[in-house]
């Protein structure tokens, strides 16, 4: 708990926070920390709060932690590196943000993501993180990064070479693939499965995945093999299969309802 206390201005505020009614102590503490971090920012600065939700949402929902540099690369499309750093700095009491930008960001306690993702506990809309929205954001960031970076023979290896004979494969991975692309390749389908099939973003995800399969599939498999994690590819395809089934089931139900409605209106239901 000493980490948590570091972000607080004085013990006086802390005690008052704990004494307020209707909230558990830890929730009060997190609210206090967030308010303190943003006490210079006007409540109406919606752009800044949306940046906060996007960056913190990503950190909290990743299936494997990334470094500040990795996070910057993954979110490059929408966030500048300095913007991410300043948000991370403001939360140093709940997130372990190492000085070295290559080291991984960690969350001090699991109760923090639980608090932010629960609308009952985190009533302040400025900070509430809706997991399905942010999983979709991360998915699109992953697909976007793969679209930009994936290419044939990404590590520039000799043709036909067996990976067992490559001298320094970990170094190759680090230089040519990197944390962010490695994460995107291994985990994008995990985020896909977290998106509810009735959400408004399904169409956009569909389009991006279509593009992925028709333009990047072999390069993606190449990267998984280079990362010695081809198993992830097999599981990922199963995930995509599962998601497609869920989505098309939803649609089938919809279609049945339509035809039912049409026949009730006296129109023949067309096949």
């Amino acid at each position: 708990m000493t980490h948590l206390l570091r972000g607080l201005p004085s013990s006086h505020h802390f005690q008052r926070a704990l004494l307020e009614k209707g909230k558990s102590g830890v929730d009060q503490l997190y609210i206090k920390i967030l308010e303190q971090a943003f006490h210079h920012t006007h409540v109406d600065n919606s752009q800044l709060y949306s940046r906060f939700r996007s960056v913190v949402g990503t950190v909290l929902l990743l299936f494997n932690p990334l470094s500040v540099n990795g996070l910057s690369e993954l979110l490059k499309k929408s966030h500048s590196s300095s913007g991410i750093s300043s948000i991370m700095r403001s939360l140093h009491s709940v997130l372990l943000v190492p000085d070295n930008k290559e080291d991984l960001i960690h969350i001090f306690h699991k109760s923090f993501p639980d608090f932010l993702a629960d609308p009952e506990r985190c009533e302040d809309e400025r900070f509430f993180i809706n997991p399905s929205v942010h999983h979709q954001e991360i998915l699109l960031s992953c697909l976007d990064l793969m679209k930009k970076r994936l290419k044939r023979n990404i590590c520039g290896l000799d043709d036909f070479i067996s990976l067992g004979k490559v001298k320094d494969l970990p170094a190759c991975q680090k230089v040519y693939i990197g944390d962010a692309l490695g994460y995107a390749c291994q985990f994008w389908t995990r985020h896909l499965l977290e998106i509810p099939t009735n959400s408004s973003g399904v169409g956009e995800a569909h389009k991006a995945i279509d593009n992925f399969f028709t333009t990047q599939l072999p390069y993606w498999i190449e990267v998984l093999s280079l990362m010695r994690n081809l198993d992830a590819g097999v599981h990922a395809i199963n995930d995509v299969d599962k998601w497609y089934r869920l989505v098309s089931c939803g649609v089938t139900v919809h279609q049945n309802l339509c035809s039912h409605f049409l026949s009730r209106q006296g129109f023949p239901a067309s096949g």
Partner: protein, 393 residues
């Protein structure tokens, strides 16, 4: 709504092609990703979406002259083993393979990747079976012992010592309290918790197979070179009892399947009544190694290097698949890792110490089941010469 449905149809094709690409060529891609462009894309079925979408990516090193199949093969995964496979067992996605090297490999049945090696037996392991919860595995060996393994840790939980001769077969009672193991001229009954042998049944011949009934925990059945015999655990002989030439036997607890040279017969465990008799149009096939799918709807049996699969749910058994192309001898039993996935082991006689596993989908590409035209099993691309129908330029 309708464009969406069409899209979903296209997407399934991508998923299907990608899965075949990954699984059929897993080893090749794992060893050398550039094989994707040199051999895997050129060798993919010409009518497939994958082949057409990525034509430009083929490196041109391999040019297919003739003989490319129009469909993906039935084989979804090939695992090359560095020792002869002796016994197989599966539980959901986990596959256990006993090797001639005395070790037991645990594999992921979907990807074929190795998850653990269980070492401890001092001679060849002849039989394997998972406990119903999938957390433990029992193995019986020529070293005259049985071992109970913890799948999570890979350690031996208990060793069962009282056999005088080698162990050929093992079965676990449905309530998980008893173990029956078959050896030369005897069956031992064990308490799983204590490891104590509390019963011995005298049998004629070598007991290649033993199985508990799942409906009556007091009953078991054994198959030896002298025939098939039912028992209660006090050692009394009960029906059924048959004199038959031993070719192969397997049981799922409610039914058992046995085979002779001509036929594969499915019978009810308790009454012995014949449920299905599977025959081919030509007699004398030398059937061996029959097995049930986990739902009991399919029966697979090998004959030489060919595997036949029958659907036994109807009045007459229906031959639904013929798999050819498995290299070497199919001598060790096969097993179903899911209701529609058959895992088959074979070993090579020309290379003294090797074998392989293939997983075959029973609901893959169609074709006349008895003509042996469809359902080729593909070889791993890393051994291109063995395929014989393409050449390097």
């Amino acid at each position: 709504v309708f464009t969406f449905l069409v899209q979903a149809g296209v997407s399934c094709k991508w998923v299907n092609d990608s899965q075949h690409l990954l699984l059929e060529h897993f080893d090749a891609i794992h060893n050398s990703p550039s094989q994707i462009y040199h051999s895997i894309l050129p060798l993919s079925p010409p009518s497939s979406w994958l082949h057409n979408c990525y034509t430009a990516e083929s490196s041109g090193v391999v040019r297919v002259v003739k003989g490319l199949s129009d469909e993906w093969g039935a084989c979804s995964c090939t695992v090359v083993l560095n020792s002869n496979p002796q016994a197989l067992a599966s539980w959901k996605d986990t596959l256990a393979v006993a090797l001639k090297s005395h070790d037991i490999l645990l594999l992921n049945a979907i990807t074929g990747s190795q998850t653990a090696v269980l070492s401890g037996h001092t001679n060849e392991v002849k039989c394997l079976t998972f406990l119903p919860d999938g957390m433990s595995l029992v193995s019986g060996s020529e070293d005259k012992t049985l071992k109970l393994w913890d799948i999570q840790t890979g350690g031996v939980v208990r060793t069962f010592h009282d056999h005088i001769k080698q162990v050929f077969s093992v079965s676990i009672s449905a309530d998980c309290t008893m173990l029956a193991s078959g050896s030369e001229e005897e069956i031992c009954l064990w308490d799983i918790q204590t490891g104590i042998c509390w019963g011995r049944l005298e049998v004629q011949g070598w007991v290649y197979c033993v199985a508990f009934s799942t409906t009556n925990p007091q009953h078991l059945i054994s198959a030896s070179s002298y025939g098939i015999q039912g028992w209660d655990i006090q050692g009394h002989k009960i029906r059924p009892s048959y004199q038959s030439h031993y070719r192969g036997f397997s049981s799922n607890g409610t039914h058992f399947v046995s085979c002779t040279e001509e036929a594969v017969t499915v019978q009810d465990f308790d009454s012995g009544a014949v449920v299905a008799k599977c025959l081919l149009s030509k007699p004398y096939h030398n059937f061996h190694c029959p097995c049930f799918s986990p739902d009991g709807k399919l029966v697979a049996c090998a004959a030489g290097a060919i595997i036949y699969v029958w659907d036994i749910t109807g009045l007459d058994p229906l031959l639904i698949k013929t798999f050819i192309g498995q290299k070497g001898y199919i001598d060790s039993p096969h097993t179903f890792s899911s209701p529609s996935t058959l895992v088959s082991a074979s070993y090579m006689t020309n290379q003294s110490n090797s074998g392989r596993l293939v997983t075959l989908s029973t609901d893959s590409a169609t074709g006349d089941p008895e003509s042996c035209t469809a359902c080729h099993i593909s070889n791993p691309v890393c051994q291109p010469a063995s395929r014989g129908w393409y050449c390097y330029l």
